[in-house]
Structures are given as structure tokens and as C-alpha cells.
């Protein structure tokens, strides 16, 4: 992960600020930075979204392809994740530098998103045991300025919301041979229900308190953080502790409670925003990458 060097004096300054609920950039402890979302930014994907959170920028593309269902769950489709840590994001990713982080991120994303409570995987099934939709979720880190998980999860949710899967029909002849037929109308497509898709809230323990959406400097002052995925109802679906320091149970409890609160509050405006953007349809002015 991208790191910055922070001097002792700076650390003390940050720590004291957080103790008084006043962070370096003026936010409170449970406030996010300014967030921008745009969907349908990559035309050759089935769904895509670009999210910037402070200076962190991620791009998520969803490609739907027809594959074979997993033998254990023949009537469900599945998701695959790949995180590409582009060297654009930080020079540390150059060469194979970003690989380890990429794998770590994609494993976490797989755990958080690929389950039937998050997404209706049954709706991805085309023909039980034979064909299903596989959603390849590709995450591209464009810039790292802390709090990757939260930004990625919001982008994934937005991209899944934006995903349009072409409608297919299974036709079978008398011999039992099955043929997949594609709808002729490009507008005739299936949308995913993203209501239950969780968002990830990362809480960093800084001093005796914890902050949401830590910047790189704050991160440097933190010893441990908790990654919590929260649904719109405030249910926690997944939790993970990262970092070298220890957390006592009491503060874990406090942090989960805070995570639930923040997560729940994050979903409603996100969905509102996405629906508002969708309703604009073709009239929407596209911003893209140069905007």
C-alpha cells in the first residue's frame, strides 16, 4: 500500500486533532471526503463506474460472459474480481509492485460481493448446470490517496447498478440440443438488483479514537484498522482487521457500531445519485476522464 513518511511532530498534530474530532482537512471523525461518481464511462463494458474520493480514483468495469456454473451451485452464476494496480496510481506499483496488493484486494472483494445475499446470483443462471453469466469485475486503481476499499466498493456497487446484461433465450430442438439465442434489440437487457450490495467502510484506529476515510497521513499514524462491509439496512456482512497493532474488544465494538452508522448513511445518497443519473439517460453530459 502506498505510504507516506510522516514526522513525529506531524503525527502528534494529527493525533491531537483527531482526539478533538477535528482532522487536518477539517472533517469530523465520521466524515468522508468529497466523492464523485460517474457511471457508464467505458462503452465496451457492460457496466462501468468511476469514483474519486479525495484524490483516490478507481475505475470499475463489469463484463458479462457466458460460462459454466460451478458444480456445487449449478443454478447460480458468479462474479470474478481482478484488481489492477496501475503504476499511474503510485510509483510503488511499477513492475510487479502492485501485484500483492491487487491479489489481497481482489480476495477481499470476492468474499464481500460474491454471495447470494449481496447479489441475486440465481438471476445470473441461464440454464442450470450448463450456462450461466459470469460477471468479470475489473478494478483499475488510477490514483491512491488512502481508503481504497471504500472507494472500490462504492465503484463496484455503481458499476453493478449500471450493468446491462443482454437478454438470452434458450431454444431447444426435439433432440434436446440447446441453443442460446440472443435478443436482436440492444435495449432488451437484464438489470441487476443492487439493493443488497454492501459498501465497505474502513475504520482506522488513530490514538484512542477511530476515523472513517483516512488519508495517507492519518493512515501512517494508525496501528490497525477494521474493514467492515455494511448493507443498506446496516447489517454487517463481513469484517476484517488489518494492520500490525492490536485492538481491544471494546474498541472493536465501538468501531463496528460506528461502521454500521456510517455505512447505512452512505447507501441512501449513493442510490439516490445513481438513480438520478440513470434517469437523465442519453441527455446526460458525460464527463469522462478529462473533465
Amino acid at each position: 500500500m502506498a505510504t507516506v513518511q510522516v514526522s513525529e511532530a506531524e503525527k502528534v498534530y494529527i493525533l491531537h486533532g483527531i482526539r478533538d474530532d477535528l482532522r487536518v482537512d477539517g472533517r469530523g471523525c465520521e466524515d468522508y471526503r468529497h466523492m464523485e461518481i460517474e457511471t457508464d464511462v467505458v462503452s465496451n463494458t457492460d457496466g462501468s463506474a468511476k469514483v474519486t474520493l479525495g484524490h483516490t480514483a478507481v475505475l470499475v468495469g463489469v463484463k458479462a460472459e457466458i460460462g459454466k456454473p460451478r458444480p456445487t451451485v449449478p443454478a447460480e452464476g458468479y462474479l470474478e474480481f481482478f484488481v489492477d494496480c496501475s503504476a499511474n496510481a503510485t510509483p510503488e506499483f511499477e513492475g510487479r509492485g502492485g501485484e500483492e496488493l491487487g491479489t489481497k484486494l481482489s480476495n477481499t472483494l470476492y468474499k464481500v460481493f460474491n454471495n447470494k445475499r449481496s447479489i441475486d446470483l440465481k438471476s445470473l443462471c441461464i440454464c442450470a448446470g450448463e450456462h450461466c453469466w459470469v460477471l468479470y469485475v475489473d478494478v483499475l486503481l488510477l490514483q491512491c490517496d488512502g481508503n481504497l476499499y471504500d472507494a472500490i466498493s462504492v465503484a463496484i456497487k455503481a458499476a453493478l447498478f449500471n450493468t446491462k446484461i443482454p437478454k438470452v433465450h434458450i431454444s431447444s430442438d426435439e433432440e434436446g440440443g440447446k441453443e442460446i439465442e440472443l435478443s436482436d434489440d440492444p435495449y432488451d437487457c437484464m438489470r441487476l438488483n443492487v439493493e443488497n450490495v454492501p459498501c465497505i467502510v474502513t475504520l482506522c484506529k488513530v490514538g484512542h479514537r477511530h476515523v472513517v476515510d483516512a488519508t495517507l497521513q492519518e493512515k501512517a499514524c494508525s496501528v490497525a484498522s477494521l474493514i467492515i462491509s455494511v448493507t443498506h439496512k446496516g447489517t454487517i456482512t463481513c469484517m476484517r482487521k488489518v494492520g500490525g497493532g492490536s485492538l481491544d474488544p471494546e474498541s472493536i465494538f465501538e468501531m463496528t457500531e460506528a461502521g454500521k452508522r456510517v455505512g447505512k448513511a452512505l447507501h441512501a445518497p449513493l442510490m439516490k445519485l445513481l438513480e438520478q443519473e440513470e434517469s437523465l439517460g442519453k441527455k446526460r453530459q458525460k464527463v469522462g476522464f478529462l473533465g
Partner: protein, 906 residues
Amino acid sequence: MLKSKTFVKKTRSGGVMKVVREHYLRDDIWCGSEVCTECKQESTVLQKDACMESSLCSYPHYLVPDTNVVLHQIDILEDPVICNVIILQTVLQEVRHRSAPVYKRLKDIIHEKEKRFYTFTNEHHRDTFIEREPGESANDRNDRAIRVAVKWYSQHLKTFESDTDGLKVVLLTNDQGNKQKAQDNGLLVYKCEEYVKSLIANPELVDRLALSSDDKNEITSSKVLFPEHLPLSRIQTGIKSSSFLQGTFRASRDNYLEATVFVQGEGEDSTEVLIQGLQNLNRAVHQDVVAVQLLPRSEWVAPSSVVLQDEGTAKDDEDAEEEEGKVTAVEAARKPTGKVVGIIKRNWRPFCGMLNVSQIKESTRHLFTPADRRIPRIRIETRQASTLSGQRIMVAIDGWPKDSRYPNGHFVRSLGGAGEKDTEEEVLLLEHDVPHQAFSQAVLSFLPKMPWAITPEDMMKREDLRPLTVCSVDPPGCTDIDDALHCRELENGNLEVGVHIADVSHFIRPGNALDKEAANRGTTVYLCGKRIDMVPELLSSNLCSLRSNVDRLAFSCIWEINHKAEILKTRFTKSVINSKASLTYAEAQMRIDDTNKNDDITKSLRGLNKLAKILKRQRIEKGALTLSSLEVRFHMDSETHDPIDLQTKELMETNSMVEEFMLLANISVAQKIYDEFSECALLRKHPAPPPSNYDILIKAAKSKVKIHTDSAKALADSLDAAKVDGFPYFNTLLRILATRCMMQAVYFCSGMDSDFHHYGLASPIYTHFTSPIRRYADIIVHRLLAVAIGADTTYPDLMDKHKQSALCNNLNYRHKMSQYAQRASVAFHTQLFFKSRGILNEEGFVLFVRKNAIIVLIPKFGLEGTVFFDSKDKVSPNIVFEEEIPGVSVPAPDTERPAKKQKLDH
């Protein structure tokens, strides 16, 4: 301005792919009209006073046809009357997807300046591009795009109304929904039929209207005659699961209720599926690609031995079919039988033929009988039946509904009066797909400039063989002399023999228009009294023709041969020759026979003749076949070009002399180019026929002699031995039959095949080298040989075996078609000859026996015809047909032998 077009498509592996294309819109696409001052166009296509006299549109107007109008009414659009038409890009693209031939015709019209067809790229025009809307099908979107473009045009032209007399744009569509919507948008729109009927000045155009689906409903009879064709998707899955077979439909010439479907298997093996009965044929037309389903083995039948010609409406079809069903075949003779379940690709072309005028006087619906017997009759609608009867006309098929006994079609054009020579020649050239239009200016531009002379550079590179006593021997009246010979004694006592072939490849350089045209034509076609050249006349009859006493470029093959006709040395060279004499076969023969003559030419001829005899003997010992086919020559009246006499071709020693050396040259060259280019040598092979091919020959000869067909040698020997006393023609008859058992000799590329054997000539390798003026294969062989001896440079296509293989396919096709055309021409001239002769009595021989007819050959005229036992006005004699022999016995002894009668029904 950039837009992106997005669509999803299925990949071959069954996946789904989303494709995104960038689509640029521009604002510099001009309207192409003369009246427009706004568009900055350099030249205009559409005229200011676009006048077509229509009772519907009295003002000048431009036409905009929609896709279906173009697809179905291309014949109308091709008419010179129709001009000032705007073809939208949407339409052009749709046509391209739906039908390649129509697309090509449309492109041709657009290129024709006088037609004034303008292509408007509406899909890239900023104001006329539209995006597909949710719930809109691709077709609806295209229709809307057409309407938007028409709307744009009418508004665009309106701005110049002051200086035009109300120029308007008229949309032509046959789609009711589209028409309604266009009217709602305030556009001028007519159905194609309405519009064409309104062209007061040109009523004959109405006949060329294709019957649209609306019209077809009128003909509906309650009876559904044919089973429904399966949709393409079903056919494809069926073929994948091998419950259906895909193949080319080939109708039988003799029986309209029978056809075979030729199914190409993997590699060499292919099967033929027999189809019998109207129901099973299910509206397939000759050469269509169809899907067939095999019937259960118990329903398999043998090919029927009845000759059936579709006599028309009156005859009850059910009877004929029942008759078919009753054919009880011998088990062994049964063949895989199937039925057509769907059409994969129609291969309809315009057909030549005659109109059968309907019995009902007022009727506008008539039946059309194509010249090709394998094509069913076509029902067409015309008001000019009385003028068209007695003319050869062209008709195109529009469709074949399942409740119609005959396909529906429309009149395309008239070729001229039936029986007139020019018309008939046109018919047979069209029917045999012989390219016969005059050479284009582009082709002619590659001809050498006249006066032409051999340049010193040419002389430098070539061997000067002008001092040699070279002469040519050809049939009388031959102007394209492509071979000449010489023979002289060397100091060491051996003979030097040279074959000099016109150096056509010097004039036809690879890849230019002249070369492409020649490659497409493939061969010169010789009709009676007419020659359709492969290369322009300047080359064929002048610069390349090895005429006497002029210097000509040649490609020479020179051997040193001893007196036992053994080849000691072979050498190839580009040369310059000066032929001393152009002789006919007869003249050459006279010189050889005339003991008083002892000049150089005669000596040379005698030497050649002697060697040729030895060569021929050697060849026959190796098992080369001497086959026979009847060739007839006509003596033409020099003024009317009508045949005045006819004789079968006579063979002289000198014919065979020239032939032997040509064979020798071909074999030597074949060996050389194969040694040099084992992957891309163009060779000619003649595969051994499968043993079953000989059945008709063995059966025919069985009563008199036994024919062995184990090898070419055995066949040749037993043919030589097959003689019957008092029946001298018997041997020739057998040889004619043997010829029909043979396979076609074909060109092929050595890298694509392993079997090179030439069965008929008993040669392990063979090619064509000696007639480059009239065969394109020889030109390629010349080029290969020139590269091999370092006399010329190579080019990529020459060394590409796939390209060469494709070329071979074309050459084989053209070659076959030219032979058919030649035969058809002879047949036609035979009929012309008999037109004035009345009834003649000649000796004839029965070639084949069918259940209800015999096929008779009259050697004197080289004429073959079918004689039916039961004709319309006569009761058929009581005939017993025996399948095994096959033979017919007539119980009543006093019945006249039908073979004596000849009937001219071709």
C-alpha cells in the same frame, strides 16, 4: 461529431460479445443535386429537370427506393427509363447484407453515368443519422432512417424552390406500415407498383415488376401443394446434429420428378442423395443449396428409368407421382433417398426460354418454359404475351409459394425471335455462363501499340530460330495459330524436333486488366461459325498467331531425338521464329504423300510423321485410350452463315502427327515445371473412373463381346478386339459409350493433390502448354516455365497454391461450360440444317433404353434424340420393359422399329 454504435453478437464458441464501433458524423456530405447551391459539391449527379412521365407525379422528382424495393425490383431500377434516383446508404448496406448479386447489380447501376443514381451517405450525415430507440427493431430503425433522410431531402430542396418547378422527392416502399408513417410525416410516398403503373410513357415496365407477397395471395388456391420449408436456424441445428444433410441440388435432365443432391463429405468422399416426387423435391430448383433429410431405408428407391417431361398444367400430377411410387426396384439398385426440408441458399439466375401463351385469351398470367430442362416452368405475368410468344425471353424467379405448382417470376428482357441465329447464340452463351461481351476499354489499353515490331531488346533475350524451317499445321480457316513445328537432321545423325508455341505471356503481363479478363474467361469458346475469344483479336489472330512469313515471338521446346523416337535431350527457350508455311491438315498430308516434292518443308513433315507414328505406337502400348465422340462440321454458306452441308470430322495422319508432338511437349513441360515448383505447378489430371461407371458399357456390349475394364490397357485392348461382322459401326458405338464412362479431366495445382495420373493418355504427369491463345491454363504454364528457365520474373500469385487452386476451379468450370456451349451450338445448327430438309430417312442406333422411351443416335448427323413410345396422338404399343438388360421387347411382331424414326425435340 462522434457517436458510438453498440450491439451484441454471438461468437462462434457460443459466447456473447459486445461490440462497440465509433461512428463519425460529418456536415460535409452533399446532396448531389444540380439545383442545390448550398452544398459545396464539385459535380452533381441528380438533374435539375428530373423528368419521368408519371401520372402520379407530374412535377420533376427524385426517387428514393427502400431496401425491399431495391431487392425485389432491381429489374425495374435497371431499366433506362428510371433515372435520378437517390440510393441511401442505409439501403445500400441492407442490400449488401441480404443479397450479394443484387448488391453487385445495384453498384453497377450506380456506376453508370446515364442512370444518375446518387448514393447519399445518410448514416454519416449529421442531420440524418438516427439512433435506434428502445423497443425498435433493426428494420424499423432503418425504415425510420430512410424516412428521416427523405424528409431532410425534401426540406433541403425546398429552399431552392424559387428556381425549380417544384422539385420533389418521392419515397418508394411496398411496406404498408412504412408508407403510412411516411404519409403522416408529410412525405410523398408511393408503392412501387403504383408508381411503375403510373409511368404512362412506358407501359412495358409493368411486366418487369416482381410479384410481391401481396400479389401472391391472389393466386392462392386452397390446396397447399408443398410442405413448409424449415427455418434456417432449425436447418443449422439439424445439420450440426447430422439429421439433415447439406448439398447442392441437381435436377435430372430426363425426369422432372427426380433429382440428386450432391453432398460433399469430408475430403474426397461425397454422397448423392436421390430425391423423387414433387413433394420431396419441395420447390428446390437446380443448383440451389438445400438441406435434405434421408428417408428410412425401407422407402429407398432406385433412379427411375422413365423419361418424364413436364407437359404443363393439364396433366394430372398425382398420376405421375403414383406411377413413381409403383416403381419396384431391385434391392441392389436402391440408392439413399431423401426429401428436401429446407433451402439454405437459392441460386436463381435469370433463365432464358420461351413463353407458353395461356389458352385463355384475356389472361395476363402465362407459363414460361426455360431452355434448360432442369429448371421448372415459371409463371409470369405479362400484358405483351402476343408479342413475346415466338421470342426468346429472360425471366427471373421471384419466389415459390407453397400453394403454387410453379414458381412465380417476372419478365426481364427479350433476346429476340426464337430460331434466329443471333438470338439462339445469345441464349446458349447466357445459359452456359460464357462471358461474351466485347472487351472493355481497360482491357484493350494493355494491348501493344500498333504497328508492333520485335525490338532489339527482345532479340537480345531470345534465341533466333528464324532460319529454321518451321511450319504450322491446323484445321482449315484457323486464324489463331498457336503451334508450329520443325524437324531437321543433326550432324550426329539424330533428329532435332522443335515445338514452337505462341508466346502469349509476353503480351499478357500478370495482374493487369487484360490478364484478369483472360483468367476470368478461361478459354476461347468455339461455336459453329463464331468464336468467343479469350484474348482480344489483335493478339489472338495477329501478334500471337504464328502466321507464315512474319517474325513472331515463340516459346520453344526442342528435343534431340534418335530414330527410335527416344528423347535424348530436352531444352526450352524463348525464341523468335519465322514460319515458312501455314498448312491445313489436308495440305500437309498431300505434301507427305506426294513423292515428287522434296523441299525442306516436306522433308521436315515426313520426319515428324515418322516419329509421330512411333510415338503413337509407344503410347498405345502403355495403355492410352483411343476414344471416340461424334464431331460434326458444318459447311457454312458464306453469305447467310447458314449450314448448307454437314459431315462428321475426318481424321488424317497429320492430325495425329501434330497431336503426338503436342502431347510430347505438354508432358515434357509438365515434368519440368513440377521438378522446379513441386508445390505450385499447374497440371492436368484425368482420374481413373470408378468401376461402376463402366456398367452401361459392359451391359451394352454384353450380348456381343466382353469388355474388360480392369485397367486402361485392358479396356483399350478389348475395345480394339470388339468387332462384329457386318456391323462396322459397332466399334465406334462402343467407343462413344466408353467416352461417356470417363471422368472429366481437370486442372489442379500440384501442391493441393497427390494423384497426378492422366488415365486417358496413360501418362504419369500432364499439363497444357501448347494453346496459350485459347486456354488460360497454358498462359500460367508458360509463366511457370519461363521462371524455371530464368527467362522471366515471378510474381506472388503464381507461387500461391491456394490462389492457383481457385484459378483451377474457375478454369475447370469455364472449360466444362464451353464444351456444353459448343455442343449446344452444334445441336442448334443441326436443327437449322434440318429446318429446310423435311423428313429424311437415315440409319440410327439405340444408345440407351428407358421405360417409356429410347435414346437414339444418328451417326451421320451426330444427332442424339429421345424417342417416346407413346406420343400424344398415338396409343403406346404394348411394351415390356426389363430393367436388368435394360431392354424393351415389343410383343407384336409387326410393329415398326421406332429407331428408324427421328424426332427433333431438343
